[in-house]
């Protein structure tokens, strides 16, 4: 019999490595682009912002910094949402994208873009500058609830049904989004393409003001669910016997992941695979315990998205690949390889 004693790196080492990678990814992201900025420029800009050339100052503080922060937060929140949903559904295939949550959020956002001046004018007036992220949030919560309702049988979630429900939800959301493109004019169409492919290209401090607090809130509250989600790995009823309030855990998990995913999708569009791949990969390295897995996923997700975004700017420079496309191009094959190499079904 194989002796599968878990080989795990200590958590502190993992966090140090991830923090180091985060710094490297940040430097890579800040120094890459049309305007030349080297590492020393970055250091100088950070230490003495007033002494820099106005153009460098503008590029650094108004273009690259918001892009870096947004990329990191988005990657973190997608990975953490994936971790939470996988824990809740007891399945490594749960992901905001796969079960239709991001699709629902994108559909809601697209609806606001296209119909914001007509059918949904009440919504736009009511919510003002929050119209888009709020709609994306509502869209993500609603789709989560639909997937949930369809897949639950006498209190437990049927995972196969859940994924099938996700496929159906994605199909419907995709069809409706397609329908909306008929109504869209040229400028709306451009925003639509942005939603469906995902991009950090328009990142601004305004975007961050709108979406950042929600993403931060989701990230900061997620660790509260670490212990109950560990118990959920043994099933809902066992979690109940261990004294956790099962309904509360379910609701909190759904709300937090919808909150984070909704806010992220609202400003970046659809970015897939981060929420699926990151927790899956990290579970092999740090183990399944959510106390370490949740923050490690957050860090790794942020690093991954920032690195991928920098790469997306480099490979076809001076143009750039949409980050959503990039993630699916890299993430899809990677995940297939991972599945083929996996020995146990967890």
């Amino acid at each position: 019999m194989a002796t599968d004693t878990a080989k795990r790196a200590p958590a502190s080492l993992i966090f140090m490595v991830l923090a180091g990678l985060a710094v490297l990814a940040a430097l890579f992201s800040l120094t890459n682009g049309a305007y030349p900025l080297g590492t020393s420029d970055v250091v100088n800009l950070l230490l003495e912002p007033e002494a820099a050339k106005p153009a460098a100052h503008m590029v650094f503080f108004d273009v690259r910094m918001p892009r870096l922060v947004l990329g990191f937060l988005t990657g973190a929140v997608l990975a953490v949402s994936g971790t939470l949903l996988q824990g809740l559904f007891r399945n490594p295939l749960a992901d905001p994208g796969l079960i239709g949550v991001s699709g629902g959020a994108a559909l809601a956002a697209v609806s606001v873009i296209v119909l914001g001046g007509s059918w949904l004018s009440d919504w736009t007036i009511l919510t003002g500058r929050w119209a888009l992220p709020l709609a994306a949030f509502v869209g993500s919560v609603l789709t989560t609830l639909v997937a949930w309702r369809v897949a639950s049988r006498s209190g437990s979630i049927a995972v196969a049904t859940l994924l099938l429900a996700g496929i159906a939800i994605n199909a419907v959301a995709g069809a409706l989004t397609g329908l909306l493109t008929f109504y869209a004019d040229d400028s709306e169409l451009r925003s639509l393409t942005f939603w469906s492919m995902g991009s950090l290209g328009h990142a601004s401090w305004e975007d961050l003001q709108v979406a950042g607090p929600w993403m931060l809130l989701a990230l900061l509250l997620a660790p509260v669910l670490a212990k109950p989600l560990d118990a959920f790995a043994l099933g809902e009823s066992v979690a109940g016997h261990l004294g956790f309030s099962v309904q509360w855990v379910k609701r909190a998990t759904v709300v937090l992941s919808a909150l984070g995913t909704g806010a992220a999708v609202a400003v970046t569009g659809l970015i897939g695979f981060v929420g699926l791949v990151v927790p899956h990969l990290l579970r092999q390295i740090v183990g399944a315990g959510h106390r370490v897995l949740i923050p490690a996923s957050g860090l790794a997700g942020g690093v991954l998205l920032v690195a991928a975004d920098s790469l997306a700017r480099v490979v076809v420079a001076p143009a750039e690949l949409p980050i959503g496309l990039m993630m699916s191009l890299l993430g899809g094959p990677f995940f297939l390889v991972l599945l083929m190499r996996m020995r146990i079904g967890a």
């Binding site: 004693t5 790995a233 066992v238 399944a288 146990i344």
Partner: protein
């Protein structure tokens, strides 16, 4: 104080009546074996007592308080439940799973308790192994350790509800587990309600046997009164001889 008092429980799921007029009382230090053929309602009764299934009629009092009045976290310190089957869906180690039962303990205390429990259950060397890679019998003992850990640091009356907790174990392991349960009952005052299939295990270790059939309790009493050829034939359709052993409990020998 009576640990468990269930009165005239009735449970209906859909159209089928799962439990009818079930009354059961368990005192501190008692090890009660629930017996009966498949489909008799043993697991349903256990789940109802665990608060997992909402009963239609009757009442359940745990430690003198109506079951619905208990808060989950509070009850979890005094009552632990082991379901028939638990699938661990992620690569957790044995230690991590058992540690789910640790509450109010420091990490070193918790680790010490885990090592002791694993050793008592004969799986001391599995502490750092990934649970999904363990055999069925090993996983069953890991779950048992988790359930025992949950009540370990509690003082006062404690209740264990175990659904076929040794179904995947060989006879020696079964002996280890039931000796430990008996020790906990006699020395620490644990109350144990265990669904048991092996009649001789029930006879050897339990203080009381409760025989169920078709959602009702047919007999409730000592091994000598329950393990009786006529009743075994009536309930199970089992043709068996029953020998009175010099140790003081009967032994059931199925006839060829």
């Amino acid at each position: 104080m009576t640990v468990l008092k269930a009165k005239q429980l009735g449970l209906t799921i859909g159209r089928s009546r799962i439990l009818q007029d079930v009354s059961l009382t368990v005192e501190p230090g008692e090890l009660v074996a629930l017996l009966g053929p498949n489909g008799a309602g043993k697991s349903s009764l256990l789940k109802t007592l665990a608060g997992e299934l909402a009963f239609g009629q009757g009442s359940i009092e745990l430690f003198g308080r109506e079951i619905r009045q208990w808060k989950g976290a509070e009850l979890a310190r005094q009552r632990a439940v082991m379901p028939q089957r638990v699938d661990v869906s992620f690569p957790f180690t044995t230690r991590e799973i058992v540690a789910l039962g640790c509450s109010g303990l420091t990490t070193p205390q918790c680790n010490e308790m885990i090592d002791y429990l694993l050793q008592r259950l004969g799986i001391g060397e599995l502490a750092e192994r990934l649970v999904p890679t363990l055999s069925g019998g090993e996983q069953q003992r890991v779950q048992l350790a988790r359930v025992l850990a949950q009540l370990w640091s509690t003082s006062g009356p404690r209740l264990l509800l175990l659904d076929e907790c040794t179904s995947a174990l060989d006879p020696a392991q079964q002996q280890t587990v039931f000796s430990l349960l008996r020790e906990l009952a006699k020395e620490q005052g644990y109350s144990v309600v265990a669904v048991v299939h092996d009649l001789n295990v029930a006879s050897c270790y339990a203080d009381r046997l409760v025989m169920m059939a078709a959602g009702r309790i047919v007999e409730d009493g000592s091994a000598t009164t329950i393990l009786e050829p006529g009743l075994l034939d009536k309930v199970f359709g089992l043709k068996a001889r029953v020998l009175a052993l010099p140790e003081g409990y009967p032994m059931v020998i199925p006839q060829a």
